[in-house]
Symmetry: C2
Subunit: 226 residues, 2 copies
C-alpha cells in the first residue's frame, strides 16, 4: 500500500535534539500511531507574554489535528491567533539504572508546532467535533444527540496541520556506563501502561439501557492484554 501521507518536516523547534540516545522517528506512521493511541494532549499557548499549558482532548483526521473548547476559553483564543505547541505523551515504563543520572522513563512523545486555523464552515466544524468525540469514544457519535446551533455557537473549533511535528521514543533497557555494569545494584524496567476499568452507568440512566458493545469492548481488550 502506498503511503500518501505528508512526510513530516521537522523544524529546529520540533527537533528534540537533547533526548540523546533516543530514536528519532520523523515518519508519519509513528506520529499517527501515537496520536491515535493517546487520549489527551497538552496544549501550550502564549498568554500575556508567558506560556500556559493545559490538557485537552483532540482528534486526528489525516494530516489535521482538531481541538475544541468554549468560545470563552482564553487559551483557545490565544491558540486561534498565535503559535501553539501540542504535545502528546505516553509513558511506557520507569527505567532503573545503576547510576543516578541514568534513571529515565520509557515513553513515546509527539510535539506539533504550528498556528491553528479557527474553523468557520458549519460542515467543517461538525466534522471536527465528530472526529474529536470519536477519538475519545470510538463508536459513540452515531448514537448521541448532535450539537445544537446554540451549542455550536458557544464552541471554538481549531484545526492544526500536522506537518511541523516530531516523535521521540525511548524504549528498552537502561543505558548505564560500562564501568557501572559490574555493580550489584539491580537495573531494569518497570513497565507502565494505561488500562480501562469496568464501565459504569450514569446514576440517572434510564433503567434497562445496557453498556453498549463499543464501550464494553474497550474494557474487555484491557482485561485481555492485562
Amino acid at each position: 500500500m502506498t503511503d500518501t501521507r505528508t512526510p513530516l518536516s521537522p523544524t529546529p523547534r520540533s527537533t528534540l535534539t537533547r533526548y540523546r540516545g533516543r530514536r528519532d522517528a520523523t515518519d508519519r506512521a509513528a506520529l499517527d500511531e501515537l496520536l491515535d493511541a493517546a487520549m489527551i494532549c497538552h496544549l501550550g499557548v502564549l498568554m500575556h507574554g508567558a506560556p500556559v499549558v493545559l490538557p485537552t482532548i483532540y482528534g486526528r483526521d489525516g494530516d489535521t489535528l482538531y481541538l475544541h473548547g468554549s468560545t470563552g476559553a482564553g487559551n483557545l483564543r490565544a491558540a486561534a491567533t498565535g503559535d501553539v505547541s501540542v504535545t502528546v505523551t505516553l509513558v511506557d515504563g520507569i527505567v532503573y539504572a545503576r547510576a543516578a543520572m541514568h534513571f529515565s522513563m520509557n515513553f513515546r512523545s509527539a510535539v506539533i508546532h504550528g498556528r491553528p486555523v479557527e474553523l468557520a464552515d458549519p460542515d467543517a466544524r461538525l466534522h471536527a467535533l465528530r472526529v474529536i468525540v470519536e477519538h475519545a469514544a470510538p463508536g459513540a457519535w452515531d448514537n448521541v444527540r448532535p450539537p445544537t446551533a446554540k451549542e455550536l455557537a458557544a464552541t471554538t473549533v481549531l484545526a492544526l496541520d500536522l506537518t511541523e511535528a516530531s516523535v521521540k521514543t525511548r524504549a528498552g533497557d537502561p543505558s548505564d556506563d560500562a564501568p557501572d555494569l559490574a555493580s550489584d545494584t539491580w537495573a531494569g524496567v518497570l513497565p507502565v501502561r494505561q488500562i480501562f476499568g469496568e464501565p459504569y452507568s450514569s446514576a440517572d440512566l434510564t433503567t434497562g439501557i445496557a453498556v453498549p458493545e463499543h464501550v464494553r469492548a474497550r474494557f474487555d481488550s484491557s482485561v485481555a492484554s492485562g
Copy 2:
C-alpha cells in the same frame, strides 16, 4: 495535625475559569497528592517567541518542584531565564454522555506558573536530583552510584516555587441536559488508570541480582488494585 504548607495563591493565569462545572481545589493537599501520584509533567517555555511543551520527570519537596536536564537542552535554558507553565495531568475516565457536546474526560490536573531558579549550590543540586530520582523510583537512590562531578557539570537543575498553582478535577457522571435524560443512549463512565507491569531485568544485568522489593512492591500493588 496542623497544615503548615503554604496556601496556594492562584493568579488569573493559574485559575482555569473555563472548566465550568468542575471542582476548584486550591488547597495544597490536592496539589501535593496529584504531584506525588503522577510520573511526568509537561513543561511549557517560550522559545523564539513561541511556546514549546515537552514532557519531563520532576520531583517535589515541600513547596518546591524540581526539574533537571542537560545543560545543552534549549527548553531548560529557556526555563532558567523566563516564565514557565508546568502541567501535571492524570486521566481517570472517559465520560460518555447522551449529547455530543457533553462528552468529557474525568481527570486531575495541576498547573504551576512561575519563574524557576537555577540551583548553583552543590548540596542543593544533589538534594534536588535525589528528590527527582526518588519521585520516579522510590527507594532507589540509596543503592545507585551517585552523580560524578562531570555528570553534575553537564546537568541543569531548576527549582520552581509551588505557590502560583491551581488544581482542577472532573469526576463522576456525565452532565447531560435535562431534556436529554430520557434518551435511550447509554451514558456513563469508562474508567482509565495507569498500572505497572511486571518488572524485567536489564539484559546486561549481572546474573543473580533479584528485582528489589521497592520495585516488586509497586507491581504487586498494581495487581492488587486491578
